[in-house]
């Protein structure tokens, strides 16, 4: 499985994303609940971090096959640092009707 977006399980906040020319990276949260992904932040930039907050009673994933694949147990969180620009449609691989899209600008 390719992981061009590194999965940062615990120490995500400690990892530097150094690009002095760019704006300071932001951290955004996407809530997962009742079998749905919550709103996706609209102004994502390379270097930002997404926290996937699974408040549902089920295990879910945030998956763009071949790009990133995070398993998120019920009641847990996982972090994804955005290291590439582009449009990345994602699904829950267990419940593929759950969909969203990340649009990452430079």
């Amino acid at each position: 499985m390719l992981r061009r977006f590194p999965l940062i399980a615990v120490a995500w906040a400690l990892l530097p994303v150094s690009n002095p020319a760019a704006a300071a990276p932001h951290t955004y949260t996407i809530v997962i609940d009742k079998m749905k992904f919550g709103p996706v932040p609209g102004q994502l930039h390379k270097g930002d971090t997404i926290i996937w907050d699974n408040r549902d009673m089920f295990q879910h994933s945030a998956t763009d096959k071949g790009v990133f694949d995070l398993d998120i147990a019920a009641g847990k969180k996982a972090a994804l640092r955005l290291t590439r620009t582009g449009t990345f449609p994602f699904v829950c691989k267990y419940h593929p009707g759950m969909k969203g899209e990340l649009k990452v600008a430079p």
Partner: protein, 173 residues
């Protein structure tokens, strides 16, 4: 294709839903029992699949069924405890259990690809039937808001299971 218990479930739920009389609609205690029973049946079927199947995709699907239905049932148990409701056995639950036992017996005689296809085809039929019952009878009949909400989440989940089972069935053909 093995769809032994699907018609039984359907018949039971139709019988329950047909007359538009309050006394014939299932109450919350019965609804909780039916939903819990339906979940347990799918968990048992999935455990049988995990014991018999060597197909990675089928095993992954079965693991998902165990995990998701266990989560719903745990939530349902916590809810009925909180509401001081004792789930009440009823003819629909009994028909579900009886049909499921027959289906497990039928599937136990199959092996390899024949088992995989029969299990997955039955999962399609089962989820389709349960989803129909949830949508048309159980959710509209539920009085308690938390129970109704849990059933609605369950319906969304089971619709995903149905889709997943249909995709898997198409691959196994």
């Amino acid at each position: 294709m093995n769809r032994i218990f699907a018609p039984i479930v359907f018949a039971g739920l139709v019988a329950m839903a047909a007359p538009v009389v309050a006394a014939d609609a299932p109450n919350d205690a019965q609804i909780a029992h039916i939903a819990y029973t339906a979940g347990n049946i799918d968990i048992a079927a999935a455990k049988q699949a995990l014991a018999k199947s060597h197909n990675a995709a089928v095993r992954s699907f079965a693991s998902e069924m165990v995990r998701d239905h266990t989560a719903v049932n745990d939530k349902a148990l916590a809810l009925v405890k909180k509401l001081h409701v004792t789930p009440a056995d009823n003819p629909t639950s009994e028909a579900l259990s009886k049909g499921a036992a027959a289906e497990l017996k039928t599937l136990s005689k199959l092996k390899g690809g024949a088992f995989d296809k029969a299990y997955v085809n039955n999962e399609v039929a089962y989820h389709k039937t349960v989803n129909g019952a949830l949508k048309d009878t159980l959710i509209p009949s539920a009085k308690n808001a938390e129970l109704k909400s849990l059933l609605q989440t369950g319906l969304t989940l089971f619709q995903e299971h149905q889709k997943h089972a249909e995709e898997l069935a198409a691959k196994l053909k």
